[in-house]
Symmetry: C2
Subunit: 487 residues, 2 copies
């Protein structure tokens, strides 16, 4: 009914240019999104958070901080299920795990909603330098890559723009290698240019005639662990094998290329293999008086297959499930329900988030606020929402309750990947900004394992989600969610 959500959607689309799904996949922290709050066209009552709610939130904060529940859930998922590539046998086990965990934790309602997507399979991958300096290269196929075996000379490009400038057919029979080094940043902003190499590089390579594509991993570590992630091929192009080298291997290849021509053998056995139907698994803590309205929080249940998906995104599942449990354990429920969604297949195209929006878009106005935790388990340092003016005072009250956790109001942020679609149809997002300085050391690598999570930071995350979700659920008034006007 208002223009705000349309502006918001436009801003989000700008943050993930041209191919929102491919770009958004892989857990980026959304970039700078303008506050979506021109004055409403009609007068709206100001949303309020009461002193009583604030007092309960303060108690909830301490309870959650002292609890190991987020850790226990994260430990359970990463240990008992392990890697859970969308569409794999472990995807089904993860769904069963989530249903059982919601039930065990005493959620009032637990249900699943189907999510259908093309299934991609990784079987084997190998690369090696040929010739006088013959040696293996640590490599992983990009999600979406076809299978293929090729031996070809490598042509290096310093960045994506250089590859995109290569003339048509100039790489005939060659492997294009983009050697762009992603930058480290607290807000993950280096991942924009880093992941663009992954999403656009293969198509650019094909347009220049290349038979294969290699990239320096979109990552900030220096370990022998390549970073996978979804890629895509533009319409009308014949896909070629596409893979990422670990950072030390990209260094090595660059040093060899400084000495002269280098031939590489790239052998990928992977590819699309039919369709699969997984499930969004949803647990709800029923509200006291407005049970059909929800604060939606969640993470994604799938992971890449190389690690055990600890920071991406068992942590998000543990943080949000535990936050809801802490709220459910209060003497009195907040007015609205807390809905925790364990989204299916985020990694390969936000399929779970899109399915959720398709199923619940008509009910968007009943979504008080929506937030996904999908940027690891680092300390939360900032809070923001896309709420309009009439809810800004309430947003400030939530920030006030979060301040003892070391959280400041942010002037940027946006919806997590799986709530982009529901935000696009009018749900107001909240953002609890995590410190992602080290996130891209681990992201999409074999090294994404439980030991990389700091239990204290995880508890701080759970406390922040509990406080935020409780106060939003108990607020008097809304945060501006409303169906988007058609064009």
């Amino acid at each position: 009914m208002r223009l705000v959500p349309v502006l918001l959607a436009t801003a989000i689309a700008a943050a993930f240019p041209s191919t929102p799904m491919a770009h958004a996949a892989g857990s980026p922290q959304a970039g700078s999104v303008p506050q979506a709050a021109p004055a409403p066209l009609v007068s709206v009552a100001e949303t309020r958070i009461t002193d009583a709610s604030m007092a309960i939130a303060a108690q909830l904060r301490e309870t959650a901080l002292a609890s190991s529940l987020a850790w226990d859930i994260t430990e359970s998922l990463t240990t008992e299920v392990g890697p859970r590539l969308a569409g794999s046998e472990a995807d089904a086990r993860a769904v069963e795990w989530a249903k059982a965990k919601f039930a065990e934790l005493g959620f009032d309602r637990v249900w699943t909603e189907p999510v259908t997507f093309p299934k991609w399979v990784r079987r084997a991958e190998r690369a090696e330098v040929l010739g006088a300096s013959a040696q293996p290269l640590a490599v992983t196929a990009l999600g979406g890559s076809p299978a293929g075996v090729l031996e070809a000379e490598v042509v290096r490009f310093a960045d994506l723009a250089a590859l995109e400038a290569a003339p048509a057919d100039s790489l005939a029979g060659k492997i294009a290698f983009v050697d762009y080094r992603m930058e480290r940043a607290r807000d993950g902003s280096g991942y924009g240019p880093g992941s663009r190499v992954r999403s656009r590089g293969p198509s650019a390579a094909i347009r220049a005639g290349a038979s294969g594509f290699l990239m320096r991993s979109a990552g900030t570590d220096s370990h022998r662990n390549p970073h996978t992630g979804i890629t895509r091929f533009d319409e009308g192009l014949e896909p070629v094998p596409a893979a990422a080298l670990s950072v030390p291997d990209a260094d090595l290849l660059t040093r060899l290329l400084e000495r002269g021509p280098v031939r590489v053998r790239l052998a990928l056995d992977c590819g699309w293999d039919g369709e699969y139907t997984s499930q969004n698994v949803i647990g709800e803590v029923t509200g006291a008086s407005r049970a059909d309205e929800v604060v939606l929080i969640g993470g994604h249940l799938d992971s890449w297959d190389l690690g055990t998906g600890a920071v991406d995104d068992a942590a998000g599942i543990g943080i949000t499930m535990s936050a809801a449990v802490h709220i459910a354990s209060l003497p009195e429920r907040p007015a609205r329900s807390i809905r925790v969604v364990a989204f299916a297949n985020e990694e390969q195209g936000l399929h779970g988030g899109n399915a959720y929006a398709a199923a619940h878009g008509a009910d968007v106005a009943r979504h008080q606020l929506v937030a996904e935790s999908d940027f690891g388990a680092g300390h939360i340092y900032g809070f923001n929402t896309g709420a309009p003016a009439h809810a800004k005072a309430a947003e400030a009250r939530i920030a006030e309750a979060l301040a003892p956790l070391g959280i400041q109001p942010l002037d940027q942020g946006g919806p997590g990947p799986d709530v982009i679609a529901i935000a696009n149809v009018g749900a107001t997002w909240a953002c609890l900004g995590q410190d992602g300085t080290d996130y891209f050391d681990l992201h999409h690598t074999p090294d994404d394992t439980l030991d990389k999570i700091d239990p204290a930071a995880l508890a701080q995350n759970a406390a922040a989600y509990a406080v935020f979700a409780y106060l939003a659920a108990d607020a008097e008034g809304d945060f501006g969610s409303a169906p988007v006007e058609g064009p």
Copy 2:
């Protein structure tokens, strides 16, 4: 002629108890070795280092510190040859590389000496948890392991002693898993108990009836990179597949075992495959007046196959080759020759060092001092030798010349692995003790790559070796090397 070397050899044997070769392999920093200096039975002239030599050494130190030559050599070996498992095709390329590099660097004499050893081959390795928590485990075969495929229940032991206490046949049809966590230490002393699990664990497992052996890697990192290394099987035992898990995978397996029985599939394709003859590659800078006497420095040319053998031990090659080049570039040569040995196959049993001692043991008295750099590329913090009393003043002069590099006299140390054998027959060792705090994060893993070396620390190492070797080569008098008396 004196008893000193016998005492020394005894001390070294004590530092590598019961199976010196298997224990010493894999670049340990030798443990505490007593000063081998009872008063000589006959009066010996005190060894002197002149002020003129000290002045030249000071200049040499600054030249070496400012040089990138050690880095350039290390970069060349790790880049152009890469991994160089003893007996592999890359072993032969490494030998050719070393010959060419010595020649290119202007060494006066370059030659090779044959080193024959059994050849071990790694073809493929894989492990996975079976059943409800099915997932892959990051694993690597221990060097010397036979091939084999087994599916069996895992039995965990907290340490080697616990496994050794297991009754005979108590592990029939099981996989023994030793979960000992190695400790981090500047002098690498945690590697003693860590590597003992690797060398003795498989035999202990077999004695208890096990069909396979797994261990938490002997390492101090938390990355998804298992640490390989040589193992051995006691006489009369039928070898079983033996492998190391990465640290996060050992954590995972332990967490799963806390929940109940765990079955694992272990599939190793590897094993002994005939004999191979490699070469010790030796380059010499001829001394001015006593050219047939040598200061021996060196590193080992082979590496494990998982990484590119940067800290283990391209660094040792780069440090010692460059040190000799800096000495050769002086206006005047020191009295004695500088002999740099690139030892063959250290990793699988000190084969190169043993072959050197067999070939040169009769000339032991012509070895002024012997030192190997095989503990990475960390800052050198200490200096010591096994010299007798008449050379202690000269040792102190060398320490004085090293002091501006931040190097202090040490009261422990011993010969590097490949000079143990020549020290055992009477050569006096020198030890330039490196900071190995981070060494076992990388040691024998895929992560042992060039980027892990700090160029400034590498140059400090080269400067220290240049100063030490020059002063020892130019000393008036000896450091006590003499043939060991027979029993």
